[in-house]
């Protein structure tokens, strides 16, 4: 990877990596720390990183940093949670489904949440997600499908409660 490719990677992937992390851990400052660390590692190892694997490398490093962060027992309560819980009775019609979905996603475990975010936000294939999260393709498929069904059931339940 050249120096120019590194700067292009900042343009192309910094927002995505940050979104993936902040949606997972729900703490902005911790997420910024993780993104910065991921790019520092990319810069240090730029000689060894294939140009075609830059995005995957960044997400892999950021994901493992995030797992370390979660293992350290970091708290994951933010304004978003507060708003989700407290505005439950005042959902507007347009944003109602999105709010309910966010609430349901926050109840997934970190692995399931990462699977959903990598699939829906970044559009990775099962194989690519497996490489990032150190899982086999079949594991990704099973875990992701399980997460989807869990979300669907939760959403149906929340819709009934809010109706």
């Amino acid at each position: 990877m050249t120096d120019k490719e590194y700067n292009n990677a900042v343009d192309l992937y910094a927002d995505g990596v940050y979104r993936f992390i902040v949606k997972n851990i729900r703490h902005q400052e911790d997420a910024r720390d993780i993104v910065q660390t991921a790019f520092e590692k990319l810069w240090v190892n730029r000689g060894a990183v294939d140009s075609l694997k830059i995005k995957s490398y960044l997400f892999t490093v950021a994901y493992h940093q995030m797992i370390d962060h979660l293992r350290q027992g970091a708290k994951m309560i933010t304004t978003e949670d507060f708003e989700t819980v407290n505005n439950h009775s005042t959902y507007q019609k347009d944003g109602e489904l999105k709010q309910l979905l966010l609430q349901a996603i926050n109840e997934l475990n970190p692995t399931q949440k990462s699977l959903v975010l990598l699939k829906d936000y970044e559009g990775y294939s099962y194989q690519e997600i497996g490489e990032i999260m150190s899982l086999s393709e079949s594991q990704v498929k099973v875990y992701l499908h399980r997460a989807r069904l869990q979300l669907k059931n939760k959403l149906v339940h929340l819709e009934k409660v809010s109706a």
Binding site: D15, A104, L144, H145, K152, L155
Partner: protein
């Protein structure tokens, strides 16, 4: 795996994940049209697919490597980058457009100015000065006590706490107060009779300790009153009545000054005197400074 009523859910999940081939997708769409319940099932699953949100990383400017940019990127982009990094140094903009005309000294000067400006800006946003309500209450309470120190046993105690530390203050039920020190004993006459009070005076002059001592006084007055009732033969109602007239007890603002400590991790705040500092902002500030220094170091290398 054949698509049928037992396996359709797996196919639908793979369908919404875009993991099926073109022919498989067509097969699923035909299957869904065969029965409305499958269409409902697909619709329910499609609801749980997240739509990407426009979230941007604000500190992107700190991630770029400027040495490489100076060599390859266009002037407009460099200009925007410099503006981001040192927003307050407006006069730099025209100079930054043509860095080739600047001497090495001037370029370094601009860079250090940018860092200094960023430092000042971040400090300004990171630190908020607020009025510490707790301390205001304590100060108010202390002033009130000072105003009423000429009357009552508590004012004598307060005076002794401040002036004669490490002494045992004993208020007898005949209305006098004895102070037992290492070498001498002093007696003070008070207007309230029947008050039995024992105060352990500590040698502190801080507001907090003063407040704690006064609160201890309140508790000990009640305890000592009951203990000495039988011995002294004093009317309990009279004692309680006198105790109620103590200035310390009457000062309701002391009791109101207590506040439950917030131990919530998400409200991490550092208090230095009356200055409230958000630890997240401090972290952000140190991270940005750290990123700048690391990048400059690596650029030099």
């Amino acid at each position: 795996m054949e698509l049928n009523q037992n396996t359709y859910e797996t196919y639908l999940l793979s369908y919404i994940d875009n993991q099926l081939s073109h022919s498989e997708r067509l097969a699923v769409e035909r299957f869904v049209k065969s029965d409305p319940k499958y269409a409902v099932a697909l619709n329910d699953l499609q609801k749980v697919v997240l739509q990407p949100e426009p979230i941007s990383y604000e500190d992107k400017a700190l991630l770029y490597r400027l040495a490489e940019m100076n060599a390859s990127l266009d002037l407009d982009f460099k200009k925007s980058l410099y503006r981001t990094e040192a927003a307050s140094v407006v006069s730099m903009e025209s100079a930054a457009l043509d860095t080739s005309t600047l001497s090495l000294w001037n370029r370094n000067l601009f860079r250090y100015s940018a860092i200094a400006a960023l430092f000042i800006l971040t400090i300004g946003t990171a630190i908020k000065f607020i009025v510490n309500k707790d301390q205001a209450v304590i100060l108010s309470a202390t002033n009130s006590i000072a105003e009423t120190k000429s009357v009552g046993i508590a004012s004598v105690a307060q005076k002794l706490i401040a002036n004669q530390p490490s002494q045992l203050l004993v208020a007898n039920n005949n209305g006098s107060v004895k102070v037992k020190g290492n070498n001498n004993t002093q007696t003070f006459e008070t207007p309230s009779k029947g008050i039995v009070n024992t105060i352990i005076a500590s040698n502190t002059h801080t507001l907090v300790d003063t407040k704690n001592t006064l609160i201890n006084n309140t508790t000990q007055v009640t305890e000592a009153t009951e203990t000495n009732e039988a011995v002294a033969g004093v009317d309990k109602e009279q004692i309680n009545k006198d105790a109620e007239h103590l200035p310390v007890i009457q000062n309701a603002s002391l009791a109101e000054s207590f506040e439950e400590i917030n131990t919530n991790e998400s409200d991490r705040v550092i208090y230095i005197s009356s200055i409230e500092i958000d630890s997240d902002k401090i972290r952000g500030f140190t991270r940005r400074i750290n990123a700048l220094f690391k990048r400059n170091k690596s650029d030099k290398q």
